[in-house]
């Protein structure tokens, strides 16, 4: 039995049956899945969730599927790392990294939304799934289509990192490179969804797809021992995940599974694509679209469809937003790797770099629990690290050469002897 009630317009509240619908006919606002929370009371409990599988499907009662999952059997339930070494470095008391660089099978948070969307696509009777993507979504759609036995068409900007292209193509989708940026790809996909009878997961299945992102927030709460971090720093691209982590926290509060500690949400963007942080910092309700130019390609969306709601949730929750430069993003990637052993993509570097800036600005206090959302893996974007490391000259396989190398390193580390006057 499912607890799903209807699709409800985010603004005017009109309700619709569960169908592939994205907007309300009356005010064109997005529609969102509604659940019967009263019926869940006493049935959806900490115990019922803990008894579920070690995947995002442990939260199935709070997801919009009717039957059994069709994919994502090993997606989600990623590590929540208590980042003590990084916390010490940043001078904060309690810091967590929610690490979706370890998400399966495509190493980004997209495996959550796609698990739900592909399952829903099958329930609706689609045989082909697709997406408009900055890379991670394409990778995930291709993987889950392979798992579920569907055809897939994935549309990406022409200049994506090679790692993402190869990893995606290995699953056998039809990959289409589009001349243009993500926003061009997205516009085209809206037209493709209209013309072809496919489930474009982030276009015509969007209300179901986005619900999968809630599982990221559910896991943070459960893995913190059924409590919420006071401050959550989230990367912002199209605007899916921040409002959905917020919704996850609110649903757990409503069901009495966690205490309401008034969690605050913070948005992280790259300087080269920061329409949301700009609007938040200027106190504006609406953002101005931008043409992205940043190494953080997975979050290079200059015209974020859900940007308005991101701004709203940041404001309502008492959070804030900022953006980071490309060099700050790279430094943060290295800092996270060196202190916590997590190698993230530039989007993750952006989130940590912005968290650091918000802490230094005094927007996030140092003595309250902070969660930084790392949503993708660095192995897919190694081009971003070009020029970061010195060339390593090979040495002969002889112990003498190794000794000489170690001695040379020691000498380089020692301070130069003071010059003596003859």
């Amino acid at each position: 039995m499912s607890y799903v009630k209807s699709l409800k317009a985010k603004e005017c509240g009109a309700e619709y049956p569960i169908e592939p619908r994205t907007i309300c006919d009356l005010d064109f606002s997005p529609v969102e899945v509604q659940y019967d929370y009263d019926a869940m009371k006493g049935k959806v409990t900490r115990q019922s969730i803990e008894a579920g599988p070690q995947s995002l499907w442990r939260y199935k009662d709070l997801l919009p599927i009717e039957g059994e999952p069709k994919t994502g059997f090993h997606s989600g339930w990623t590590p929540l790392v208590k980042a003590d070494r990084l916390a010490k470095k940043l001078g904060v008391d309690e810091l967590y990294i929610k690490d979706d660089s370890a998400n399966y099978p495509s190493y980004s948070y997209k495996d959550r939304v796609v698990s739900v969307a592909v399952t829903k696509a099958i329930e609706f009777g689609f045989d082909t799934v697709g997406c408009a993507s900055t890379g991670n979504l394409a990778h995930s759609v291709a993987a889950h289509a392979a798992i579920a036995g569907l055809d897939s068409f994935v549309m990406v900007p022409h200049d994506l990192e090679e790692g993402k292209i190869v990893a995606t193509r290995s699953f056998g989708p039809q990959l289409v490179k589009i001349k243009g940026n993500y926003d061009d790809v997205n516009r085209l996909c809206a037209q493709i969804a209209d013309k072809y009878g496919w489930a474009i997961v982030n276009v015509n299945l969007r209300p179901f797809y986005t619900e999968g992102a809630k599982t990221y927030g559910f896991e943070i709460a459960e893995q913190m021992g059924w409590q919420l971090p006071k401050h959550t720093v989230v990367p912002v691209a199209g605007g899916t995940i921040l409002p959905k982590i917020w919704k996850a926290y609110q649903e757990f509060i409503q069901l009495g599974l966690v205490e309401d500690n008034k969690p605050a949400m913070y948005g992280a963007q790259a300087d080269g694509c920061n329409p949301i942080s700009k609007a938040v910092r200027a106190g504006e309700e609406l953002f101005h679209p931008q043409k992205p130019d940043t190494i953080a390609k997975s979050i290079a969306i200059g015209n974020p469809a859900d940007g308005y709601y991101v701004i709203q949730h940041i404001k309502e929750s008492g959070g804030y937003a900022t953006s980071a430069s490309d060099p700050e993003i790279i430094s943060a990637i290295r800092l996270l790797a060196e202190t916590e052993g997590i190698f993230t993509e530039p989007a993750g570097g952006t989130t940590l770099a912005c968290a650091i800036k918000l802490i230094e600005e005094g927007k996030i206090p140092r003595d309250e629990p902070i969660c930084v959302c790392v949503t993708g893996n660095g192995l897919k974007t190694i081009e971003a690290m070009d020029g970061q490391f010195e060339h390593v000259e090979p040495i002969p396989a002889k112990i003498g050469d190794f000794d000489a190398m170690v001695n040379a390193m020691k000498e380089a580390d020692e301070p130069a002897p003071a010059a003596t006057n003859a």
Binding site: F28, T134, A190, N202
Partner: protein
Amino acid sequence: MPESITVTIPAALRPQVEGSESVTAEGDTIGGVLDALKAQYPSFGDKLFPNGGEQMNRSINVYVNEEDIRFLENMDTKVTARDQVDIILAIAGG
């Protein structure tokens, strides 16, 4: 002299224009074309510009030759019959 401009309509909005995939409206700017569209389909017009305001519904984006009008001259963007004008829903997440 305003020309007759063809505007494509996304599937989700076609019920607003009697199911048509595209409509024609006269105007020499996007603002003019949308005004003409409002006159033809008053109920659609009220939703495109809620509360009788100047601000277009934020769920709707308008493109001229594949470019968002917010990167052009917005409502003052000039159009002729040779231009491709598309109404696209703002839905995204990559």
